[in-house]
């Protein structure tokens, strides 16, 4: 794949052309280009542009989500040919806490992390506390990222942290919290490690933690 084709792949993702993104990813593999190289040159720059447009309010959630669909169309094709499903830069267990079904913020964080080489285990939404505890114990992720949009379910976030302590898992995983009503104050109060206002904050923090 030439540089021009990387450019075309980036463009397809930025404008949300799902079919074109898939076609170009398939073409790149057919030309025996390393899927990681395609990801780094053809996908990640595109998501950075999309994120910038979102910050500048040139893009809103509809365009952002359409671009992310195009990203996944290509990424899922490339993933099938990636040699080892490794930990990437780090393994992240991510989900919306028990009692809450609002998952758009969580999905945005997941996209940005995956686009930047983290492996995400997506727990979904309204996830029982016990499921988080079990998965932390079994899969040993580097990070646990919890999200909620609603005030009443902040309590569920607190209980998840308490559960980690009770099960002796708290020092095995770094915990980030986020979502509409969450703040640094609340993060400290419940004993989490990090509060992020948006997907970029989450990425920056995760990158800085793996460098430690």
């Amino acid at each position: 794949m030439t540089e021009k084709m990387f450019e075309e792949l980036n463009h397809a993702i930025v404008v949300g052309d799902i079919d074109e993104a898939g076609r170009l990813a398939t073409l790149g593999l057919a030309e025996n280009i390393d899927p990681l190289t395609i990801t780094e040159k053809g996908l990640i720059p595109a998501m950075a542009i999309v994120s910038e447009k979102y910050d500048k309010k040139e893009y809103y959630l509809p365009q952002m989500l359409l671009s992310s669909e195009a990203f996944y169309e290509a990424f899922n094709i490339l993933k099938t040919k990636m040699k080892v499903e490794s930990k990437g830069r780090g393994k992240v267990l991510i989900g919306v806490v028990e009692g809450d079904v609002h998952d758009i913020g969580k999905n945005l964080v997941k996209i940005v992390l995956e686009a930047n080489g983290f492996v995400c285990i997506d727990m979904g939404r309204d996830v029982p506390i016990e499921d988080y505890l079990q998965k932390v114990a079994e899969d040993k992720p580097d990070f646990l990222m919890l999200s909620t949009l609603m005030t009443p379910t902040m309590m569920s976030m607190r209980r998840t942290l308490e559960g980690l302590v009770e099960e002796g898992l708290r020092d095995k995983v770094k915990v980030a919290v986020g979502g509409g009503p969450i703040s640094w104050d609340f993060c400290k109060k419940i004993g989490a490690d990090f509060y992020g206002d948006n997907e970029k904050d989450a990425l920056k923090w995760a990158v800085s933690e793996v460098k430690k």
């Binding site: 949300g16 509809p62 365009q63 809450d100 609603m150 005030t151 009443p152 569920s156």
Partner: protein, 354 residues
């Protein structure tokens, strides 16, 4: 001025006529959970039985003292009537047990052609709501009943598998399918609103919950929100009250000038003073004592703090009339009952017109 009935007071406020005091109009929704706990009803049984729901709704007036009845108190009625199925979570954060959709009526565009506008006298829980309205009208003829319809995009999220995420993606694609689905949801809201008015409601209130300033642009709001609400407003032949969740500021010109509701109920993210100055002569205003993350006084404040916040709103809203005291969004289950009562009492103490 002699004491008015709640319905006289609300009509006076909506039409900028003199009245005895500011009415308290509440979007009383999941706070009903306090009453369900006291009455020993689950959400599922209370929402599905006219007698039980009536017992809860009448407390909006008898227990809390609001100047209106507000129902339905959940957001899923239209989605359920269109064929989506609910699951009632019995254990989750904060004791929240309201139904959530777990099986959507529309999974592919082809499914849309299998669905018609439901008959409100038969579909889902609509007959329950209509029966409760009839009972309220009979027992409390002087208290205005406000029927609630979901904003069409919010109903789409209850009907379309993939919820808001899929809705947003289809919006970005500008697919005709999403406009067809919005139209179906709009016609459903119109049919339901008309049936509620026929049963005894005097006004229809609505909310835009998903199309918020952080999510969509003004252009997207103009294309996917405004025309559908305008259709409802034009079709129902009754006062239409509009609430925009989160910061409505970027959309307010469109709401006031294009949708043209009789009243805008402001979220607590909006500066009430600014809104009153800019729109207070064109449209009645309701608002906006804090119930959300932007201003959580009703959730975490003392009754005295709620009184002080309500007093500030009254000072801004009262001059010139056209003002109703209300929370900055729905009155939800995180708000203690004593703070709801403090809000109502504030209007009686500080909202009297001299």
């Amino acid at each position: 001025m002699s004491t008015m009935t709640p319905i006289e007071r609300v009509v006076a406020a909506l039409t900028f006529k003199p009245s005895d005091r500011v009415p308290v109009a509440l979007y009383f929704q999941s706070a009903a959970q306090h009453d369900f706990v006291e009455l020993d009803y689950t959400w599922e049984e209370a929402l599905n039985h006219p007698r039980k729901l009536f017992q809860s709704i009448e407390r909006q007036y008898t227990e809390y003292g609001a100047d209106n009845f507000f129902l339905p108190i959940d957001f899923r009625v239209e989605g359920e009537a269109l064929g989506s199925k609910l699951n009632y979570m019995l254990k989750c954060g904060g004791g929240m047990r309201m139904g959530v959709v777990n099986d959507w009526a529309v999974k592919t565009p082809a499914d849309l052609h299998k669905i018609n506008v439901p008959d409100p006298t038969k579909a889902g829980r609509m007959p329950v709501i209509l029966e409760v309205i009839r009972r309220l009208k009979k027992k409390y003829p002087d208290v205005p009943i406000v029927g609630f319809v979901n904003g069409p995009p919010d109903t789409v999220a209850d009907v379309l598998e993939g919820r808001y995420k899929r809705l947003y993606v289809e919006m970005a694609k500008k697919s005709s399918f999403i406009h067809d689905l919005l139209e179906l949801c709009t016609q459903t809201s119109i049919a339901f609103a008309k049936a509620m008015l026929e049963a005894g409601a005097v006004a229809i209130a609505t909310v835009e919950g998903g199309m918020v300033d952080e999510a969509v642009s003004v252009d997207q709001y103009a294309e996917f929100v405004v025309p559908y609400h305008r259709k409802i407003r034009d079709a129902i032949g009754a006062p239409y009250i509009y609430h925009q969740c989160e910061n409505a500021t970027p959309f307010l010109d469109l709401i006031v000038n294009e949708i043209q509701p009789i009243c805008v109920a402001f979220h607590d993210s909006v500066d009430l003073k600014w809104a009153k100055e800019k729109y207070g002569k064109k449209v009645a205003i309701a608002g906006n004592v804090g119930v959300s993350k932007a201003d959580a006084v009703m959730m975490f404040g003392t009754p005295e703090e709620v009184t002080a916040a309500a007093r500030k709103c009254l000072e801004i809203g009262m001059p010139g009339g056209g003002y109703l005291l209300s929370g900055g969004c729905e009155i939800h289950h995180g708000i203690p009952p004593e703070n709801i009562k403090a809000l109502v009492q504030a209007a009686k103490t500080y909202g009297v017109y001299k």
